[in-house]
């Protein structure tokens, strides 16, 4: 559906995008991840034909964006980072203009706009002037604009940036709904969003594509066989028992959160099911096993590992799936992990539970 080949974009001497290639199939929802200034927006602007690449090709459904812009652009709905809204128009006027612009037939305009406004839940603000809308609603109007003409491809540049947590969840739900019938590329630096919505993630750093895969595969392939366990019993003897067990390659003490228990992080040697070894050891020594939790790297941690490691490339990435990473690598990942945990916590704190969702739509109107 979307094919990007050897994309390069130079701003003077600065290379914003360095040789990015990827393909997106029909129906896929792809997340663009990357720190600020990684080249996400630039890449999206090139795909949509807003700016031209220094070299490389982009084709949408087989239509080259430079050679056949009309056909290619017809198939794309684009929501830029800042929604392109005319502040002194009402929502209906604005969407009518968008429909005119995209060459929607006159008879189809009204039912189409009604349908879209229904989907995005902006029907009740349709008569309002856009400058009087809240940021969340402006974002929705921007999204509605992208949907006008029912394009097959949606390109959404940070669709949730600057919104409050409730609005983020609402927009995310809208995107999930849209993903059933559209091919979507969305960029974000909120990783939980990407893992919630996308079925493939492309990580971009400093203009390069550094990793690509499903959120699960990315975290699996980078994480080792690590478990966090909680045991009840004498602290000294627990630590000694596990450290002396040859089924574990490393045993680290972890912060204990509950009185009378000991938390450990263990890593198994290859060929042994670490979970079984943990259980057997506990039974043998008479400890009570309270918890076994997989310490899989979350997407945040994958992201940090991939983007902070200067020399990281796609080749390194595929190598590390073979679990042959050396000690130095491990140290680094441990450092990153703690940092990532903090970030994850922050994100969790700012995101309320899903059930707020039920009462949505009211606060915004004010």
């Amino acid at each position: 559906m979307i094919e990007v080949k050897n994309l390069v974009k130079n701003y003077g001497k600065y290379e914003a995008v360095k040789d990015i290639s990827f393909k997106v199939d029909t129906g896929e929802v792809v997340g663009f991840l990357g720190p600020n200034g990684a080249g996400k927006s630039t890449t999206m602007n090139i795909i949509t034909g807003y700016i031209s690449a220094s070299s490389g090709e982009v084709s949408i459904d087989g239509f080259d964006i430079l050679k056949n812009p009309k056909e290619a652009k017809k198939r794309i709905g684009y929501l830029p980072e800042i929604p392109p809204l005319y502040m002194d128009m009402t929502v209906t006027e604005y969407l009518n203009f968008a429909a005119d612009l995209k060459g929607v037939k006159k008879a189809e305009i009204k039912p189409m706009l009604d349908d879209i406004m229904e989907k995005i839940k902006i029907t009740h603000v349709s008569h309002k002037v856009i400058k009087n809308l809240s940021k969340g609603y402006r974002q929705r109007v921007g999204l509605a604009q992208a949907l006008v003409g029912y394009p097959e491809v949606l390109i959404l540049d940070e669709p949730t940036v600057g919104l409050d947590p409730k609005q983020i969840i609402e927009i995310r739900d809208v995107i999930k709904e849209l993903s059933k019938s559209h091919t979507i590329i969305l960029s974000s630096h909120i990783l939980s969003e990407v893992s919630a919505v996308c079925n493939r993630v492309i990580i971009i750093n400093k203009g390069r594509l550094v990793a690509s895969g499903t959120p699960d595969r990315l975290s699996e392939s980078l994480s080792q066989d690590r478990f966090k366990i909680k045991l009840k019993g004498d602290r000294e003897s627990i630590i000694n028992a596990y450290k002396s067990d040859s089924s574990f390659s490393t045993v680290e003490e972890s912060e204990t959160t509950e009185e009378g228990t000991t938390d450990l992080i263990v890593e198994g040697v290859s060929g042994v099911d670490t979970r079984e070894a943990v259980f057997d050891n506990a039974v043998k020594n008479g400890f009570k096993l309270l918890m076994i939790k997989s310490e899989k790297l979350s997407l945040e941690e994958v992201f940090l590992q991939v983007t902070e490691n200067e020399n990281f490339s796609l080749d390194d990435f595929s190598n590390s799936t073979a679990q042959s990473s050396d000690l130095a690598d491990n140290n680094e990942s441990a450092e990153n992990t703690s940092e990532a945990e903090e970030i994850e916590q922050v994100i969790e704190n700012t995101e309320p539970e899903k059930d707020i969702n039920e009462t949505n739509g009211e606060a915004d109107e004010k």
Binding site: I51, K73, Y78, I82, P84, L85, M87, F97, D100, L101
Partner: protein, 287 residues
């Protein structure tokens, strides 16, 4: 193009600009009409236009200052440029909308010569000629204003620059008649043009050697010409500047002459500036 045109027209009349423009234009014309026709008992309406021309200093920026600069500032150009509408269509839509507002106010002033026709004999040919000329002149200024608004994303800068550009266009004849017509002055002028061409080459290629070579070749050609055939340079600078003498062209219309060459001149003048506008927008996509 139709979508853009429709939106711009709506914009002019949902904000104050359209009404203010028309009111201002008609008011000024009415004042001159009262002074020159009613109070001095003259049926020569065409002279009113010659007096009103100076108003383009304010009228042109009023219509064009936000046309493209505002799109860029509000990032709404992203919507236009990623829609299946070509850049020439966008530019043309905006241009025609501005010209339409100008045309509406021009049509309203048609009431003045009609009033005059009840009380005396009006020179129909001269008045019609004036209308056509005035329309073409205004359209030319609007094209210049549109081009300037595509360069900057600041409305104020766009307005001031358009004011200056219109001022220079109106003053071309005065400047040319005042400036020296000597050959050495023309040589200097040609030198400046040569330098500008070299700078343009540098701007596009970022290659110092090529640009310097270009300039040296140009300078050599100019010097050889100067010593071999000095007569070429007689009044060269003036001739060049007179290419922009829109007022001279207008005056032929005011005399009641429907001069084809002048019509072609204005149309190509407009086309060139619309082309520049398209180039500016396209260039930005590539840089």
């Amino acid at each position: 193009m139709k979508a853009i045109y429709k939106r711009e027209i709506k914009m002019y009349f949902s904000s104050m600009i359209g009404y203010v423009f028309i009111a201002f234009f008609v008011l000024i014309t009415a004042v001159y009409f009262s002074l020159q026709n009613i109070l001095s008992l003259s049926p020569d309406f065409q002279y009113v236009f010659s007096s009103v021309i100076m108003m383009f200093l304010i009228l042109a920026p009023m219509l064009t200052m936000r046309l493209l600069s505002e799109e860029k500032k509000q990032k709404t150009d992203q919507m236009l440029l990623t829609s299946p509408v070509s850049i020439p269509a966008i530019v043309l839509g905006k241009y025609l909308a501005a010209v339409t507002v100008f045309l509406i106010s021009l049509v309203i002033t048609g009431i003045f010569p009609i009033i005059l026709s009840f009380f005396g004999t009006v020179a129909l040919a001269q008045i019609l000629g004036s209308y056509i000329g005035f329309f073409l002149l205004g359209s030319a200024f609007i094209a210049v204003g549109l081009w300037i608004s595509s360069i900057t994303d600041n409305q104020i800068v766009s307005a001031v620059a358009t004011f200056v550009a219109v001022f220079l266009l109106l003053m071309v004849e005065t400047i040319v008649s005042a400036a020296s017509g000597s050959e050495s002055f023309s040589l200097m002028f040609a030198g400046v043009i040569a330098l500008l061409i070299a700078l343009y080459v540098y701007y596009n290629t970022k290659n110092t050697e090529v640009s310097i070579t270009v300039f040296i070749i140009e300078a050599a050609v100019l010097l050889v010409l100067y010593f071999v055939k000095r007569s070429i340079f007689t009044g060269l600078a003036g001739k060049f500047a007179m290419m922009f003498a829109v007022l001279t062209r207008f005056n032929s219309f005011a005399m009641g002459l429907l001069d084809i060459s002048s019509i072609v001149y204005f149309i190509s003048f407009i086309a060139v500036f619309l082309y520049f506008t398209i180039r500016v927008i396209e260039k930005r996509r590539w840089s």
